[in-house]
Symmetry: C2
Subunit: 351 residues, 2 copies
C-alpha cells in the first residue's frame, strides 16, 4: 500500500513552492450554485441545514464535483458557536443573522465544554466529506474568530461594528472575558474538527478593519495566537490559515505574532505585502476581487495572471480576497480555475 498523494494545499501550507499553486475559493459552496439552492430548499432553516451532516456534506462536495478545486471547506457558519454557547441565533430571510440577548459571560463560560458536544454534527459532516473526497484534495475546517463572533453577539446582528468597537474602548475587561470564552470554545471546536477529518484549519476574522493597532493586538492577535496554542497543546498538527480581513498594514503585525502557517490576504493586499509575508516564512492565500470574478472578461484573466506571476515564486494558495458572490456566473469560476491549474476549459467541462 502506497501513501496517498499529499494534497497540494497541505504542501503549500508546509512552505513548499509548487509549480502551480493550489486553488479554492471562499464560499465556493453555496448560493452561486443552482444545485445548492435546490438542496437548501429542502431544509427548514439555515441553522438546521448546517446541523444536518448529510445536507452539509453534500453542500461541501457540490463545488468539488463541478470544479477541480484543490480543497473543500466544510459547510457551516461562524455563528454556530454562540448558539452552542447558549445565545439564540436565527436567520431572517433576506436580512441575515439575528441573535438574542447576550447571556452573562459567566453563564457562557460554563457552557464551553458542552458547546463542543453540541457541535458534533459538524464533525460528522467532516467525517462524511473526508470519506468521499479524493485523497489528493484537502479538507478545511474553520471557525469565526473571537472578535468577529463577539461583534455579532454584542450587536445582535450584522452591522458596521461601531457599537462593538465602542464597547472595546469602554468595557475592555468585559470584552476580554467574552473573548476568552470564545477562544476556549473555538479551540475545542477546531480540535474536534481536526479529529473528525479536517486537515487544515482556518480562522475567519471577517471584521478586522478599522481597529487601532493596540486594540488589534488585544482583540485579534492575542486571541488568534491563543487558539493556535491551545489547539497545538491538544496534539493537533493540522496547519492554520489566519484571515484578518481588512487589517491593512496590520497584517504585518498579525503575521509576525500569530503562529499560523498561512495568512489569507484580502482584496486590497498589495503584491509587495504578500511577498514580504512569504519572505518571513508564511504561506499566503488570496486575493482576487470577488467583484472582478463576478464581472469576468479579459480584466479577470489579466488579474489572475498578475497574481500568479507575483506570488507563485513562494508558498501560495490561489483564492479570492472575500467570498464568492451569489450572482457569480459558474463559467467565470471555471475559467479562473482553468487558468490557475493549467487544465483547458474543455477538459474541465468534460469532468
Amino acid at each position: 500500500m502506497t501513501a496517498p498523494a499529499q494534497p497540494r494545499l497541505l504542501r503549500a501550507l508546509a512552505g513548499e513552492t509548487l509549480e502551480r499553486p493550489p486553488v479554492w475559493f471562499m464560499r465556493q459552496a453555496g448560493r452561486s450554485l443552482p444545485e445548492y439552492r435546490e438542496l437548501r430548499a429542502r431544509a427548514t432553516d439555515f441553522i438546521a441545514f448546517c446541523h444536518n451532516p448529510e445536507m452539509a456534506a453534500e453542500a461541501t462536495l457540490q463545488p468539488m464535483r463541478r470544479f477541480p478545486f484543490d480543497a473543500a471547506i466544510v459547510f457551516a457558519d461562524i455563528l454556530l458557536i454562540p448558539r452552542a454557547l447558549g445565545q439564540e441565533v436565527w436567520f431572517e430571510a433576506g436580512e441575515g443573522p439575528r441573535l438574542g440577548v447576550l447571556p452573562p459571560v459567566e453563564r457562557l463560560a460554563g457552557e464551553v465544554e458542552a458547546s463542543t458536544a453540541r457541535l458534533a454534527d459538524i464533525g460528522e459532516t467532516l467525517a462524511r466529506v473526508r470519506t468521499e473526497l479524493e485523497p489528493d484534495r484537502a479538507l478545511i475546517g474553520f471557525a469565526g474568530a473571537p472578535w468577529t463572533v463577539a461583534t455579532y453577539m454584542l450587536e445582535g446582528r450584522g452591522s458596521d461594528r461601531s457599537a462593538a468597537r465602542a464597547y472595546a474602548h469602554a468595557h475592555p475587561a468585559e470584552l476580554d472575558a467574552l473573548l476568552k470564552v470564545l477562544v476556549d470554545a473555538t479551540a475545542r471546536y477546531l480540535v474536534m474538527q481536526a479529529r473528525s477529518g479536517a486537515q487544515a484549519l482556518k480562522i475567519f476574522e471577517s471584521w478586522a478593519e478599522g481597529l487601532p493597532e493596540d486594540v488589534f493586538e488585544r482583540i485579534v492577535i492575542r486571541p488568534h495566537a491563543a487558539i493556535v496554542e491551545q489547539v497545538r497543546a491538544a496534539g493537533v498538527t493540522a496547519p492554520f490559515i489566519g484571515f484578518p480581513r481588512g487589517a491593512g498594514a496590520l497584517v504585518d503585525n498579525y503575521a509576525a505574532q500569530v503562529p499560523v502557517e498561512g495568512v489569507a490576504l484580502d482584496t486590497q493586499a498589495s503584491i509587495a505585502q504578500g511577498r514580504r509575508l512569504q519572505a518571513q516564512g508564511k504561506t499566503i492565500q488570496g486575493a482576487l476581487d470577488n467583484l472582478l470574478l463576478r464581472a469576468g472578461g479579459s480584466g479577470l484573466d489579466a488579474r489572475v495572471d498578475t497574481l500568479l506571476e507575483a506570488w507563485s515564486s513562494g508558498p501560495y494558495i490561489f483564492n479570492l480576497g472575500h467570498g464568492v458572490l451569489p450572482d457569480t456566473p459558474a463559467e467565470n469560476i471555471a475559467r479562473v480555475v482553468a487558468r490557475v491549474t493549467g487544465k483547458p476549459l474543455s477538459a474541465l467541462a468534460a469532468e
Copy 2:
C-alpha cells in the same frame, strides 16, 4: 512690519519636526457642538448652509473659539462638486445624501469651467475666515477625491460602494472618463480655494477601502497625482494632504506615487507604517480612533501619549483617523487638545 508667525500646520507640512505637533480634528466643526446645531437650524437645508458664506464661515470658526486648534478647515461638503457639475444633490434628514440621475459624461465635461464659478461661495467663506482667523492658525481647503465622489454619483447615495466597484471592473473606460471630469473640476476648485485664502489643501478619499492594487492605482493614485499636478501648474504652492482612507498597505503605494506633502492616516494605520512614511519624506497626520475620543477616559489619554511618542520624532500633525462623531463630549476634545498642546485644561477653559 514683521512677517506673521508661520502657522504650525504649515511648518509641519514643510517637513519640520516640531517640539509638539500641530493639532486639528476632521469634522471639528459640526454636529458635536451645540452652537453649530443652533446655527444650522437657521438654514433651510444643508446645501444652502454650505453655500451661505456667512453661516459657513461661522461654522468654520466655532471650534476655533472653543479649542486651541492649530488649523481650521472650511465648512463645506464633498458633494458640492457634482451639484456644481449639474447632478442634483439633496440631503434626506437622518439618512444622508441623495443624488439625481447621473448626466452623460460629455455633459458633465462641458460644465467643468462653469462649476468653479458656481462654487464661488466657498471661496467667499474662505476669504471671510482668513480675515478673522489669527495669523498663526492655518486655514485648510478641501475637496472630495474623484473616486469617492464618483461612488456617490454612480450609486445615488452613500452605500457599501460595491455597485461602484463593480462598475470599475465592468466599465473601466466610462469610469476613467468620469474621473477625468472630476479631476479637472476638483483641480480648478482647489486652485480657487487657495486663491481665496486656503493655505493647505486636503483631498478626502473616504472610500479607498477594498480596492485591488491595480484598480487603486488607476482610480485613486493617478487622479490624486493629476489633481496635484494641475494645481501646481496653475502656480499654487499650498501644500497638500492626501487621505486615502481605508487603503491599508496600499497607503505605501500612495505615498510613493502621489506628490502630496502630507499623508493622512486612518484609525488602523500602524506605528511602523507612519514612521516608514516619515522616513520617505512625508508629513503624516492621524490617527486617533474617533470612537475612543467619544469614549474618553484613561484609555484615551494613554493612546494620545502613544501616538505622540511614536510619531513626534518626525513631521507629524495630530488628528483623528476619521471625523468627530456627533455625540462626542466637548470635554474629551478639550482634554486631547490640552494633552497635545501641553496647555493645562484650566487655561483652555478660561480662553
